[in-house]
Symmetry: C2
Subunit: 513 residues, 2 copies
């Protein structure tokens, strides 16, 4: 399509500009190459060298230090992905748009897409051939309506786009929570219990995106979590389980691309959520999967009908891919555990595993319940014996021992476990009983205080729903490291502390986010 | 929402990076401000100073020359729009997303939007508060379905978002072609005829975006077209008409924003087209509007049914806004006139106005027909007398004289009128009759040769549909200035010259684009 013009050869320069996910390149307004594209203002271009092709969005510069007349500046992700040294001559032409964009436009017009079309879209997404705008076009085009077949095709294509793990065991279990509840670090209790029993549970987790901590952030307080595929296999082989960051093993990279656009647009459809979660779990090679859907007024799912529709979608996709999927709804009215933020949550987890008398009972009970479900997948275990077995492994210290083994296998953490040196307490305005806790508000407050960037920032809860409080008694304590974060969190908490006591206070509202 | 942190004050730096329409800012990865946003990778931020607010997309840099630790680098559009000197301290916080985005999400979920919601969206668009992704979300959310009321609200809001011209005359006429046909510079013949008659016709035109020339590009060969509002009024007052670039008078700026995203996504819906054209015409203050819809196998509209649906939409919107709208379909099977490219088209126009014996008859006839329709809007003119009056004004030289007056009023052109010094001819492969011409292919060929950047690049046609040709006789000549463009155009023409002769050649296909 585009025979090379002699002057479309440009020298690679590196531009230290982090453009997130999108490939962005810069050429000089004086450049002899791509005159029409410079004139038009916006365009996509194509870099080619030895069969390697990179599609990128073109920006124009008048600054020679970004790109001189004979140069093309590659921003960080483009430079990393094209992987050629500075100064290399590269052919630059107007981009031939990925063919799969035709299917995206058909979807926008309302047509149902074939498996092959969806496969092509996902393949192009996973290879960073779409601009952010084009990703948005696909997401929004499929946000209003996708068929069951499209959902299956999407999930399958996403699962195949990256690393696909294969395990030698007939039963490989996994658990996943759809998120939204502060604390709630059940995986870090469940994995050692299940692994101590002997079932393989190769757990990958995410880092916090909009919450004050993801499981990977919290585990990082105790051990290294940036673990690659081969190392992961070795750890699971020796310990039956792991607790690592999923981003390092490249499961479902197309999902990461989609999320990078869903998030800024606050798009959140059931189908995308199911395709996202199931594609990662299928790629991770688990055969039996437990999905936890917390339900509560400030949780992601606020009612039983919504939870059931989501459950059926998970079951449908699981069945079609030959995975055993069990979906349970749990109490999502308030945080699980007493800590919010990586260090505080890690403390909760170790207290539960260590059978400390002050360990949060809700985290212990929920973890035992989830572990019980997973243990029942062991054909050798007598039906109904899962809970007793889980409790036995926890109470005996076997789970704690297994956790130490996993921590040793993953390697030492490099994070400080210190709590923020600045703190303030939020106190009850009057006597009464705690009647509601706003999960969204506490999440936001913990982030404002510095979590998860500051591992030791966050919130320690003293009271939960149903607890009696007296006027002036602390409801929770906020930890921060720097005065500005401390002050910002204090003023945010003063504007609304997220607790309703006895009906004297208004119920926290979902719109408070 | 975001009380200022002391360290969220950053010094403005100018980053000479042209990011097109979108506001983009850069901060250092070492910056103490916006730590959470740096960590998340993608976010929107807000710059505030003395009540002025700018929303922008945040990029991160490791290069101190783009932004040091205490600086924020503003890319070109952001720097221009914020309009504060380098070094100014500005408060930078995470952005509060525009409230109207909630309506965009509702639209994506399938809800119909109110007039107020659409008004808020358009207002935010026109003030550059949306990211490119957010604009795409709105466009695609409304691409699948918008109601008549939504279309009216959209058109009205867009018309009100920028300059709104008001004329003292009871009848102000205008014409608009939906485009797609090479050559076809009827406005430059129609405006002088109508103006010579005495009807006001304040014509604004676009520059080429994806075509080899817009009316503004072609007029620029003859006169200055970057004319502001006040000057435009003076010109229309003295000459009854003008032929200027619409981009300089800021009619419907929201439309320009939408087009900047529609174009790279190749989104093209009837409703958006109607809202786009009608909003500009309503803002331009015309009372009587003639819309030209060329129909042909390689035109934008390929059949009568499609043309009729579009016509009804134009009529509907025109009626509701109290404008007289007349829609005519014209022959869109081939280029109008013999030239493609600014200089070649300007030559055609001046030949028609000058009544040269070699002037292209099709351009003359189509222009007379359109002018006739417009002249009939003059209440003083006898019904049915429009065509004769138009011909009289053209044949007598009155139209040419009026054109000279308009050119003098707008001021001299600074462009060269020379044709490209390199050229090649495309010749008939055998004897026969020209049976089809591919408009898309010729448009692309003229662009490849350098138009509209090189005003004198383009194509001169020797044969049109129905003409007899002999083997080896030239069909057209391609002009370019530089060898690379010449060679590229030659190889493109060799791969398919866009002409079908006698049925010996395959009919050009629409997919050839």
């Amino acid at each position: 399509m585009h025979p090379d013009l002699p002057h479309s050869q440009l020298k690679i320069r590196r531009v230290r500009l982090d453009t997130g996910r999108e490939n962005v390149v810069v050429i000089s307004r004086q450049s002899k190459a791509l005159r029409a594209e410079i004139f038009r203002g916006f365009s996509r271009v194509e870099l080619r060298l030895n069969g390697k092709v990179l599609l990128a969005t073109l920006l124009i510069t008048d600054d020679d230090t970004l790109a001189a007349q004979d140069e093309i500046g590659l921003s960080e992700p483009a430079f990393r992905r094209f992987a050629e040294p500075v100064g290399t001559l590269v052919a630059v032409t107007p981009a031939t748009p990925p063919e799969s964009l035709e299917a995206v436009r058909a979807k926008i017009r309302g047509r149902t897409l074939s498996q092959a079309e969806i496969g092509a879209i996902i393949n192009d997404l996973a290879h960073y051939r779409y601009s952010d705008m084009e990703i948005a076009a696909f997401l929004i085009g499929s946000a209003s309506f996708i068929t069951s077949d499209e959902l299956l095709a999407l999930t399958g294509a996403m699962a195949q786009a990256g690393t696909q793990l294969v395990w030698p065991d007939p039963v490989v279990v996994d658990k996943h929570c759809i998120g939204g509840i502060p604390g709630n670090r059940t995986s870090m209790v469940v994995v050692p219990i299940v692994a101590a029993h002997g079932l393989p549970i190769p757990k990958t987790s995410s880092r916090a995106i909009t919450s004050p901590a993801g499981t990977a952030d919290t585990m990082e307080v105790l051990a290294r979590v940036n673990v690659g595929v081969e190392e992961m296999k070795a750890i699971v082989s020796s310990c039956n389980g792991c607790l690592i960051w999923g981003g390092h093993v490249n499961l479902s990279p197309a999902d990461d691309v989609l999320i990078s656009v869903e998030r800024p647009l606050s798009l959140d459809t059931r189908e995308q959520m199911v395709a996202s979660i199931m594609s990662k779990k299928i790629a991770a090679g688990s055969t039996h999967l437990l999905i936890d859907i917390p339900v509560g007024p400030t949780a992601k799912v606020t009612g039983a009908v919504e939870a059931m529709r989501l459950r059926k979608l998970f079951e449908f996709v699981g069945d079609r891919f030959g995975r055993t999927v069990e979906v349970i709804t749990t109490d999502g009215r308030q945080p699980i555990g007493n800590g919010i933020g990586p260090v505080l949550e890690a403390n909760d987890v170790m207290a539960v595993l260590g059978n400390d008398k002050d360990a949060p009972r809700d985290l212990r009970e929920k973890s035992l319940r989830l572990a019980a479900h997973l243990l029942e997948y062991d054909p050798k275990l007598r039906g109904g014996a899962g809970y007793a077995r889980a409790r036995e492994l926890l109470d005996s210290g076997a789970a704690l021992k297994q956790m130490q083994k996993i921590i040793d296998a993953q390697g030492p953490s490099t994070c400080s476990t210190e709590l923020g040196s600045l703190s303030f307490d939020i106190k009850a305005a009057h006597d009464g009983t705690v009647s509601a806790i706003d999960c969204l508000r506490l999440n936001r407050l913990a982030r404002t205080a510095g979590a998860p960037l500051d591992k030791g920032a966050g919130i320690r809860l003293f009271k939960k729903i149903g607890d009696h409080v007296e006027q002036g008694e602390p409801l929770y304590r906020v930890y921060a490291f720097d005065q500005p974060e401390h002050d910002l969190a204090a003023s945010a908490a003063a504007a609304g502390n997220g607790y309703a006591v006895d009906g004297h206070d208004a119920l926290p509202s979902k719109t408070a986010s």
